[in-house]
Symmetry: C2
Subunit: 251 residues, 2 copies
DNA sequence: CCTAATTTGTGCGATATATGAACAAATATC
DNA sequence: GATATTTGTTCATATATCGCACAAATTAGG
């Protein structure tokens, strides 16, 4: 790609939108400038452009994103058949399991939720389509990383900030690589409170008819309700059933 | 705002992202150009920029959005406290009602889903946060439009494509305005298969502690399961309870 | 297999945008 | 209440982008 095939004004604008992540609902020009590392004048022009288009509003001091911004992400969710196909299966899975079920794909070092069926609330985090978690310590992440080649998986780990979320979090790369091999062999991953104390989860890959892993689905349950060692016994048959059903409908 | 405070390259890029709406997962440069009305060279540069940043991939012919694009919309969902605060209440509501519950806000002439709790699948449409429906024929839309001034509500109707989705859809502006008044008085809206045959729903406004309507929540049920005339009796107490709980926690 | 029709890639002049400094206004600090 | 600091805005100019026109490549049709 040539230099001139890159629209830096566009790239800068996207960076500004992402600056509204986390808990930052309202940003001043200076704040956005600091967060993005862009010049104040540039950030101001991007924000004013967003306002002009209705993606943001400006009250004289703060800029706030509007729901119109959801159109951008929704273009992906609506356009990609995966979430639409998976959702009904997920609903059924959650209902039969009596627990939350989710689906996600890998994006770099993170898993991104693309669909979710809530049955009960156990996590402190609010997960919706678009939510992200570090792949190395999430059950779906383990499954998705296990589907990569050894080299690719190792490369992801190298780029990951292997921070322990709980005392249970496995952070040793070699231990994780061994875990991926185990997951690949047994066909599922179980997480025992590595992400959040009190939460266990079990995930299986979602494969298309050519056997390629295109996503992962999981069931999460309170540790007080199901011990990690019982997760497979209790939920694996349901997950396998959903996995099988999806293999038949995915292109 | 001055002319020069508008970054047209950014605006053009956003338009390109939105071109991936509907069922268009893959777009060629020419297709995106037709959909956006932008010059091919411009679209090409925007798409190459998206690819360079990892928001899209190019296989030599088609451009496809990647899950990274979800970060953009998610910046809003994560940053706005509304979805996070409402979600647990919605989960509880859906569980107690045994039906799907959703929350949405108004964006122009459409309602935008910001949270959802699925219990069962009755709609043919797949609704996730970010999904949009025309406000005039959705229960939450009626509630949100009823919260506007008469002039504003009328203005929205004027800008709306009042297309009938089913034989039941009310499309006469005066009839709709009268409906808004009724909704405002009784404090809830019931939709009887105006959006989709076989689907009824009931919605109430979500108000903050100053009495301002900031969102709407609803419960949808199959018409075969609950007649429209029974919706209020069956679900209004639950909705009112959730509404009251939310009023106490919303800023 | 060749021609016509589309689609895609590229060079260039005109136009639009980014930059960084300078200034004014608003906050914060003492 | 005066000074220091941060913040928002403006401006001139160097730089980058836009859209057009043309060439190359691909696809469709006969």
């Amino acid at each position: 790609m040539r230099e001139t095939d890159f629209v830096s004004g566009f790239a800068r604008g996207l960076k500004v939108i992402e600056a509204f992540g986390e808990t930052r609902q309202r940003l001043t020009i200076a704040e956005a400038s600091k967060l993005t590392g862009l010049d104040r004048a540039t950030v101001r022009r991007s924000l004013l452009t967003l306002s002009e288009l209705g993606y943001a509003v400006f009250d004289g001091k703060f800029f706030t994103l509007t729901p119109k911004i959801l159109r951008l992400g929704h273009a992906y969710l609506a356009a990609t058949p995966l979430p639409t196909i998976i959702q009904p299966h997920l609903d059924q899975l959650a209902e039969r399991a009596g627990q939350n079920a989710s689906a996600s794909v890998l994006d770099g070092t993170e898993v991104v939720y693309i669909a979710r069926a809530s049955q009960r609330r156990v996590m402190s985090i609010n997960l919706t389509p678009g939510s992200r978690l570090p792949a190395f310590c999430a059950s779906m992440g383990r499954v998705l990383l296990a589907a990569l080649s050894e080299g690719e998986a190792r490369s992801v780990l190298e780029r990951t900030d292997l921070r322990a979320n709980t005392p249970n979090t496995k952070t040793d790369p070699e231990e994780l690589m061994a875990e991926f091999r185990r997951v690949r062999e047994q066909g599922y991953a179980v997480i025992d409170q590595e992400l959040e104390i009190g939460l266990c989860s079990i995930a299986v890959p979602v494969e298309n008819d050519r056997g390629q892993t295109v996503a992962a689905i999981n069931i999460g349950a309170p540790a007080a309700y199901v011990a990690a060692s019982d997760m497979a016994e209790q939920f694996l048959p349901l997950l396998k059933e959903t996995q099988k059903a999806l293999r038949l409908v995915l292109p």
